[in-house]
């Protein structure tokens, strides 16, 4: 028993020490936002001498022509429809694979799973060329359409796994009541998928919010920049001297929406991905 207590104490000490190292950069970033440029490089103190809001005020001005207000609006305009489309499309596709038999199902399922291994750099160049002929470059269509067309196999797979845990008797009793398969999905399955759907929302929101690569390729005018490109611009274009206090403040600010979502929905998130990924 004594040995057990000791190993628990060791575990706690370890968790705390590693935990401090883990969050140190983020806490340090938070306090750095309130430091002036001289203080950032001059001193080692953790807390700023006095809390200066200059980093936020000057940083928010963005490129001069466009403020971070525009960049946030753009990011939401890009990300929120993408997340909604992903939930709509991947859920239906998962339902199709999980509950129905149809010709070539096994082959199509393997094909869908194997696209998880497709490196995006292989398909990006032809997509760019194709979207260019559609006139979609420098719009958010290159973000919305792939979501509407369910090209996120990870989410499909996760929801199939989750659906396997929902008893089929529920579907069948809905059929008996005269619901067609689509109505059954909307009324019976979808509400029961809550943990899995929250996982899709969180993951997809975080990934799209953080996306840099696709923005860099498909978006060219500053007017349409999302936060990732705005931040990239802020470390590039200040002509030699980077205003680090502005850059750090804006970086910190950009982390708030995803972090809030994570805290708000993390109960479902853990439930959804553990149930969704481990069974079978």
């Amino acid at each position: 028993m004594n040995k057990k207590a000791r190993s628990k104490i060791i575990a706690y000490i370890f968790l705390i020490v590693v935990g401090v190292v883990m969050v140190y950069p983020l806490v340090w970033l938070f306090f750095s936002c309130f430091k002036t440029n001289q203080e950032l490089f001059g001193s080692l103190t953790f807390l700023p001498d006095h809390f200066s809001m200059d980093g936020f005020i000057n940083g928010w001005k963005g490129s001069g022509q466009f403020t971070y207000g525009t960049f946030y609006k753009n990011t939401f305009l890009q990300v929120i429809p993408t997340v909604l489309f992903t939930v709509l499309s991947t859920g239906l596709v998962a339902y199709g694979f999980a509950r129905f038999r149809f010709p070539m199902k096994k082959f199509l399922f393997l094909l869908m799973i194997s696209t998880m291994m497709l490196p995006s750099s292989v398909i990006t160049i032809p997509r760019y060329v194709m979207f260019n002929t559609f006139g979609w470059n420098d719009t958010y269509m290159p973000f919305w359409i792939p979501a509407l067309l369910a090209t996120y196999p990870f989410f499909i797979f996760m929801q199939i796994q989750f659906m396997r845990g929902i008893p089929r008797e529920l579907d069948e009793s809905a059929y008996v009541d005269g619901c067609n398969p689509f109505v059954t999905y909307v009324r019976i399955i979808f509400p029961l998928m809550k943990p899995a759907i929250f996982s899709v929302i969180i993951f997809q929101f975080l990934w799209r919010w953080n996306d840099y690569y696709n923005n860099l390729i498909f978006i060219s005018s500053t007017k349409k920049y999302a936060i990732s490109l705005a931040l990239k611009m802020s470390i590039d274009s200040t002509g030699g001297v980077t205003e680090w206090s502005n850059v750090l403040s804006m970086s910190f600010l950009s982390m708030i929406p995803p972090t809030l979502l994570f805290f708000f929905a993390q109960k479902y998130f853990v439930e959804g991905i553990t149930a969704g990924s481990v069974k079978g």
Binding site: M22, K105, A150, S277
Partner: protein, 313 residues
Amino acid sequence: MDIRKGKENQSAPAVKVRKYPRTWKWGLLFIMPWLVGFLLLEAYPLVMSLIYSFTDFSILKSGKFVGIQNYVKLFTSDRYFLKSLGITIKYTIISVPCKVAFALFIAMILNMKLKGINFFRTVYYLPSIMGGSVAIAILWRFMFMSDGIINKLLGTLHMPQPNWLGDPDTALATMVLLVVWQFGSSMVLFLGALKNVPTELYEAAAVDGASKPRQFFKITLPMISPIIFFNIMMQTINALQEFTSPSIITNGGPNHGTYLLGLKIYEDAFKNLKMGYASATSWVLFAIVLVITVLMFKTSDAWVFYNDGGLDS
């Protein structure tokens, strides 16, 4: 996993024997968005990039067929390709095992029945929220500057203060540190897997006198091997394509020492507008992913234990 579940759908004995239940059209209808997406946004671009790779195509000109010239050039006269390939493989080989092992280790500790585990789980996940974002890469660049906070901390401890981003090896090391720091999603998957290992197995092993390490190797590892497999696979594919870190933290430098393939393909295609050539490079990357995938699946029979139809179904 069992994808033939549909068999159970035939609740009443079928009067007429049919190959598919009469709902098969609905099934196809539901997967239609993906099927269209696959053909339009994945299959077609994949074929096109293979075609481009045999041309000198760019967005400015339609391109003419040049045979295997792009590939020959990559391996013989490109100053940076082989170097870039080597660094990418090095980055992957170092970062993936570190990340997966660290994620498993922390998940094992979090799986001990301790109080306040939810708090620690959240804290450990926190850095992963921002994933491959520009914001985190900027933070990293700032922390590891020669007069940044890391070196100041090392200074107070009287330790050597390397010029992290000024030397190819330490610059790559900072990028490895960044990706290992964000082990959260692997950790959550491991936690789920560990919780599903039946405790009776450990109890039985303890009765038989098996030591803790022996239990780990004989019970824990085999039981969670599918998740280990999945994590290694996904992290490898991500690492081979890493883009944000070299683009923001080092810009591929110093001396092209962190010029990962993802960055090279982007620059060749969208800055130098050599899209045919960049397509050839991306196909080499794709070939590497394919070889790794095949190798992983071939060896998986030996080390991945599938408990199909076991305790949870």
